[in-house]
């Protein structure tokens, strides 16, 4: 089975006041294992809602969502928490590291909710390796306040990988970084994708960020607009709304 993510005709309606507002109006898409995909869309396009559903944080009103062969849309809160813990790594725009907690402890955070019968020592070893991979071998004991933005985001990337997820979901991962650091972080995602074969979904409104992915999915007004392979000539030239 090649497909990691398979979404079939997802509709999401928010109940506001008297009537419902339909944010997603029947979205279908598929992402294969080992792909690096950018999800692009303007604010209000339903991009965030789709990302929340793909990240198992929210449930669609109707439609089906298969992640790694599992139907997510019928799952309970606790089951979805387990799926998030085991299969998805999150990277956020504002890093979301715990203050006054060392880089190593931050990376170890997801392991405290996993059912994996690994010893604390094995977890620490793995987390240390991951921090070495993101180039922070000498920053294990540093707290977020002692790290630069780029370093913080690299800690967050290491954290997203600690439970060996199938999918890394990065929500505007470069939104708070300068262009040079952004480039570093994006290159790191590319490396992870190429060397480790981790499926990566970049959620962004920035075309230059999306350009680092192999494929871009555009969403507008709750519908998938196009589904272009990245290297088509006009991809970068499209106006960003």
């Amino acid at each position: 089975m090649m497909e990691l993510i398979k979404v079939e005709n997802i509709v999401k309606t928010y109940q506001l006041g008297g009537g419902g507002v339909q944010v997603l109006k029947g979205v279908s898409l598929a992402i294969d294992r080992g792909e690096m995909v950018a999800l692009m869309g303007a604010s209000g396009s339903g991009k965030t809602t789709l990302m929340n559903i793909l990240g198992c944080l929210d449930r669609p009103t109707s439609g089906k969502y298969f992640l790694d062969g599992q139907e997510i849309s019928r799952m309970s809160v606790n089951q979805r928490a387990l799926v998030r813990n085991e299969k998805i790594g999150f990277v956020f725009q504002n890093f979301n590291l715990l203050a006054r907690t060392t880089a190593l402890e931050n990376v170890l955070l997801p392991t405290s909710y996993s059912n994996e019968p690994l010893s604390a020592k094995a977890h620490r070893l793995h987390a240390t390796e991951l921090l070495e991979q993101v180039g922070l071998a000498d920053r294990l004991d540093h707290e977020p306040s002692q790290l630069s933005g780029g370093q913080q985001q690299r800690v967050a990337i290491a954290r997203s990988l600690v439970n060996n997820p199938k999918l890394v979901l990065a929500d505007e991962p470069t939104g708070n970084l300068d262009s040079r650091t952004s480039e570093e972080v994006l290159r790191m995602f590319q490396e992870l994708n190429e060397k480790k074969g981790i499926t990566i979904l970049l959620v962004t409104h920035d075309a230059t960020v999306a350009a680092h992915a192999k494929r871009t999915i555009r969403i507008r007004d709750g519908l998938i607009e196009e589904n272009l392979p990245q290297n088509s000539a006009d991809a970068a030239a499209l106006p960003v709304t």
Partner: protein, 454 residues
């Protein structure tokens, strides 16, 4: 189990991230527990002191009275039976394991004369040295009479302070002689001041002498309502004994035959009561049972025959006073518990602030796989750890407080292990109760909203 430990570690880390606030939050609990510990220790100390005082006033004493004698359907009232003897007192002291010691007491009401002074003391007791041990009474001058004085029926006595005041306005009674019912007794000691007893009677208005002296030298009978046949005998002293220098006989001397025919007053070796000490008031019922069994056997009473003696004690008064001090202690603990409640509200308040402040952290934890139960557990555990920490510090502080009260104010205190265990339990319960709502609130957060919270 592993999950429990990691949750605990998480909770500890979270608290350590803000040590000042954690310390201030738990201050309410520290003060509450310290108050409880100090109150309990001081309260129990006072309670023990009060019990000691009651014991000094005679609460741990039993008094055995003879029962009622009856003749031809006419009862002579309580205390008229003549079956209680000093041998009974010795047997009780020897054979009853639950009692301290026992002393026979012969009472009387007689006039004392010393020079131009005379006085009728409230208490005249013929007894043994054990009497003073039971009443915890020592001499302030001279000495007490000993067992040899009892066996020899020596003509000695010790006086209470009131009697000394009445008969010896100038003081210094030791070595002087007083007349008791015209019998000269040498004063060998003066008892310490004791004050009024629980009935308001002046305990210092007393003259004590060996019971043998009282019984066989001073008064042949102890009570006016003594058994009729002995009461008829009257005084055992003839005029020739009282006034030996009078050579002239006022009445014709009875012949030997006449003397033999004359009915002699019967001399019973009975005593008016037996005073018994019991080490602790808890042993009183046991002591009563033992004494009853022993005396019934000694008096050859068959089953079904009523006892020819009564045993009285002051347990009622002792219990009442004990309850009063218990009530005071409970009241103070109640006040301390209220302060503990206030401390708990403080915990709840800060935990609520903490939950709001850490909304993003909660969102993150949920995003990376924390289930609502994990979040609930983490925050409850944080509250419990805070309270336990406060409880431990509170125990130390309370201990220090009560020790300070003991050294500075000289109040009695008593260490209380149950109070410490209870405080730890109460801290956990406070943490659970007041930590639950904030933790529940945290666990109900929507991760999407929480992650976006600014």
């Amino acid at each position: 189990m592993l999950k429990m430990t990691t949750t605990l570690i998480t909770a500890l880390r979270a608290l350590r991230r803000n040590p000042l606030r954690s310390a201030l939050t738990t201050l309410g609990i520290i003060i509450g527990i310290a108050a409880v510990i100090a109150m309990v220790q001081i309260g129990e100390g006072s309670s023990a002191a009060i019990k000691q005082t009651i014991a000094n006033m005679g609460a741990n004493e039993l008094i055995i009275f003879p029962g009622a004698a009856a003749s031809g359907g006419v009862s002579f009232g309580g205390g008229s039976a003549v079956t209680l003897t000093s041998a009974d007192a010795d047997a009780v002291a020897r054979d009853c394991p639950s009692i301290g010691t026992a002393a026979p007491v012969v009472n009387g009401r007689m006039q004392l004369v010393r020079g131009g002074q005379n006085w009728v003391p409230q208490f005249i007791a013929g007894t043994t040295p054990a009497y003073f041990a039971i009443r915890d009474w020592a001499v302030s001058q001279g000495r007490l009479f000993g067992n040899d004085d009892v066996s020899g029926a020596n003509e000695v006595c010790v006086l209470g302070q009131t009697v000394v005041k009445q008969l010896f306005p100038s003081g210094m009674p030791v070595g002087k002689t007083i007349l008791v019912e015209s019998v000269p007794l040498k004063v060998i000691g003066v008892l310490q001041f004791k004050g009024a007893n629980m009935m308001g009677m002046d305990q210092d208005d007393i003259l004590a002498m060996p019971w043998t002296t009282m019984k066989y030298r001073v008064s042949g009978t102890a009570l006016q309502n003594q058994n009729q046949s002995s009461a008829a005998g009257g005084s055992t002293f003839s005029t020739s004994q009282l006034y030996p220098e009078t050579s002239q006989n006022l009445y014709p001397v009875p012949s030997a035959t006449e003397q033999q025919d004359l009915p002699q007053p019967v001399r019973f070796p009975n005593v008016n009561s037996i005073l018994v000490s019991v080490p602790t008031s808890a042993q009183i019922p046991q002591a009563v049972n033992e004494i009853t069994a022993l005396l019934r056997q000694r008096h050859h009473l068959r089953a079904g025959v009523p006892s020819d003696f009564n045993i009285r004690n002051m347990a009622e008064i002792s219990n009442a006073l004990g309850h009063t001090s218990q009530l005071m202690t409970n009241l103070l603990i109640g006040v301390a518990l209220i302060s503990l409640m206030v401390g708990g509200v403080g915990i709840m308040n800060i935990m609520l602030v903490s939950v709001t402040e850490r909304t993003r952290e909660i969102g993150l934890r949920m995003a990376i796989g924390a289930q609502p139960a994990d979040i609930l557990g983490q925050f409850i555990l944080e509250a419990i750890v805070l309270c336990l920490f406060g409880g431990a510090l509170g125990i130390f502080l309370g201990q220090a407080l009560s020790t300070a009260v003991q050294t500075l104010l000289h109040w009695p205190i008593q260490l209380s292990a149950p109070a410490m265990i209870a405080s730890v339990a109460v801290s956990v319960v406070v943490g659970l109760v007041f930590g639950y709502y904030p933790a529940w609130k945290a666990s109900r957060l929507d991760p999407i909203e929480a992650l976006r919270y600014e």
